[in-house]
Symmetry: C2
Subunit: 235 residues, 2 copies
């Protein structure tokens, strides 16, 4: 192979591809566009990536001028942020996602549907400021998932959101029942949340306030947001 991952062409498409399309990099950018800034925070979005490789990619992105750090390396305050050049990649990553949603079959019904990754994604997008102060506990039930991935709990305590796979033992404020494809379809903006609720494909049981405010405290994915901005939601 040529040195590393270079293409030996001056064409700007090739130069851009060398930076943006190395393995995992589009997903790291997606995470940062979604607001992740700390190392572990970014890693949560790409849990299958080794930390060593993430570290390497972050260095490469810094060398390319796409991201930069605020504090000193290693310092507790250190955070990564997108530079202007990195911000300029946002519409490209977004377009890639919209393309994937529209054209990749398995984006909705492949065997990749994993309730765990979905819950991790959702966990990161709970808007705690739209929830009551103190503790809120939600239980998710995916009737179509294998037993070990079927039930999940979110324990929200003021700012902290904890995801559990075993019953934390607290009283449940809200039960959420759905199939994985339905919840995922809503999550990526392929279907609107109110429509799925109306059709009872997602069923909420419990605190009336939480049920009513779900559109505020459950912030959907980057793509669902984009969909609302580009074309009016279906329902």
């Amino acid at each position: 192979m040529r040195t590393e991952t270079e293409y030996g062409q001056f064409c700007p498409v090739a130069k851009a591809a060398e930076i943006v399309t190395t393995r995992w990099t589009p997903l790291i950018l997606r995470e940062m566009i979604c607001g992740s800034a700390r190392f572990n925070e970014i890693h949560r979005g790409v849990p299958l990536m080794s930390r060593a490789l993430l570290s390497k990619r972050l260095k490469e992105l810094q060398a390319s001028g796409v991201i930069a750090r605020d504090g000193a390396a290693g310092s507790p305050a250190s955070a990564y942020r997108l530079t202007p050049s990195g911000e300029a990649l946002q519409p490209i990553i977004l377009a890639l996602g919209l393309w994937g949603r529209q054209w990749v079959e398995s984006a909705l019904d492949g065997p990749d549907w994993d309730a765990g990754v979905l819950m991790w994604d959702m966990r990161r997008r709970i808007d705690t400021s739209a929830l009551p102060a103190g503790r809120t506990v939600m239980q998710f039930d995916y009737h179509d998932a294998p037993d070990e991935l079927r039930r999940w709990w979110l324990v929200i305590d003021d700012d902290a959101v904890d995801l559990c796979q075993s019953d934390p033992g607290h009283e449940i404020d809200l039960y959420v029942a759905a199939s994985v494809p339905v919840m995922a379809g809503v999550w990526i903006g392929k279907r609107s949340l109110p429509a799925a609720l109306d059709d009872e494909e997602i069923v909420l049981v419990g605190d009336a306030g939480l049920r009513r405010s779900i559109r505020r405290w459950l912030k959907l994915s980057l793509l669902a947001d984009a969909a609302e901005r580009t074309h009016a939601p279906a329902g």
Copy 2:
């Protein structure tokens, strides 16, 4: 590693990235967007890629539904074409190139500048229909290139365009003199061709008709075209 180049996430960005951002794939798509359809034609645009790998990538792209073939495999008439899903990638590849042109330093002054690749690119974009019938011979001289990459000849005979690195012995109809960065800057649309001619950074000597019609017979790269469409050219 996980199976092949998959990410194990359902996020549409990840699914799209699995298809679009594997090594060489963005460049193959660029070639096809530029109009290449035959195997060897595509390969000319990515000459550093092995034919075996190109073959493999083309199969993968077919499996993903991004491209399809017209004739039977191997038949002389066989050609690849973008499907609707592939066409939908055009704005993304274009945006990637525009980003690269704007933000990647070395896109214009790195050590990657190679007059050979530039000439190969240009060769593919000569519009023979805008040239006189019969034979036209042009000589390019890059005064800043190393000796072995300094002089190039294009021999155009009706439809056929041949690129030579040694004097083909015919009478020269047009001499083109420039530096590699200047010609490349024009080629990728960073600078307009008329402006570079006005400033004598590109100098044409020879047939007056060829000199006048250069904007028609030398079709610039995908990106230069896009630039003309999105914002008025500088000159």
